[in-house]
């Protein structure tokens, strides 16, 4: 493929990602209103039914399922909000832990374990940092065996996991 074709393909991919981002933001907004209704109604109904009854147990399951969906929505909302934050001092260990929490909530990680070791303070854009850490984790997830432990190791301004690294 020549350079002109490659640039055109890259531009198409960038536009597709931009559209996907817009749709994701819209979908999160559209999901959040019904979730308020679902969780709020379930919480009210739980308080109105007798604990130990079949109805109470069913409502409890509905409520807990709604909370699981809400956790995913909140994690994605927080990730999107982070993209607009300006450069600042941040803990790379905490950023790595946040990236692990996001990936664990949003992706089917099955029985893969995660751990973070080390810490360092860097000056960076929080959104870009988390995005790159998520990319590192996703790449490592693709390579990992089921049941494996993926460790993010922080040294100075570098985070490594398996064969990959993020250098800030």
């Amino acid at each position: 493929m020549g350079i002109i074709e490659r640039v055109a393909t890259d531009a198409d991919a960038a536009r597709a990602l931009q559209t996907l981002g817009l749709l994701t933001r819209g979908a999160l907004h559209q999901i959040s209103n019904p979730l308020v209704g679902l969780l709020g109604s379930a919480e009210l109904a739980l308080s109105e039914t007798e604990p130990g009854t079949k109805l109470n147990a069913r409502i409890d399951l509905t409520h807990r399922t709604g909370l699981e969906i809400a956790e995913i929505v909140r994690a994605l909302q927080a990730f999107i909000r982070l993209q607009d934050e300006p450069e600042r001092e941040l803990s790379l260990g905490a950023a790595a832990a946040d990236a692990v929490a996001l990936v664990s909530k949003v992706l089917p990680v099955h029985d893969t374990e995660f751990s973070v070791s080390g810490d360092a303070t860097v000056v960076a854009r929080p959104g870009e940092t988390q995005r790159r850490l998520v990319e590192l984790l996703v790449a490592e997830l693709g390579r990992a065996e089921r049941g494996a432990t993926i460790t993010l190791e922080v040294h100075d301004d570098v985070v490594t996991a398996g064969g990959g690294e993020v250098r800030l």
Binding site: S32, P34, V36, G40, S41, L44, Q77, R81
Partner: protein, 120 residues
């Protein structure tokens, strides 16, 4: 304490009103910012809990108008949290006493309201 809930989504509006009523407040719900402004011309409220994304006048535009009409009235904005970073930044700059990200629990709503009502 009288609380005015503004949200075009009936399920969110009605639930928010019911949760606040059960918590001992005196809430009233309206579907648009315009209706809120009309009601505020006639009645006194201690706090506004308003959605950000609404057809017609948005929650941030309502906040802007309230700063002009009733600068001391406390306002909490409810937001989907991922769609309008510029709007929420503007809301904070305009003096919203709280931002409540949807979906929220009863406890989160009550905590945001209590904190707002305690603020100066």
């Amino acid at each position: 304490m009288r609380i005015l809930v503004v949200d075009d989504e009936p399920s969110v509006r009605n639930l928010t009103v019911e949760i606040l009523r059960r918590s001992g407040y005196e809430p009233h719900g309206v579907p648009t910012a315009r209706r809120a402004l009309d009601l505020l011309d006639e009645e006194r409220f201690d706090l506004i809990v308003s959605d950000v994304m609404m057809p017609g006048m948005t929650g941030v535009e309502l906040l802007y108008e309230l700063r002009r009409r009733q600068p001391d009235l406390r306002v909490i904005l409810m937001t989907g949290g991922s769609e309008e970073p510029e709007r929420t930044t503007k809301a904070v700059a305009l003096g919203a006493v709280g931002l409540l990200y949807k979906p929220f629990s009863h406890a989160e709503l009550n905590e945001a309201v209590a904190t707002a009502l305690e603020s100066d």
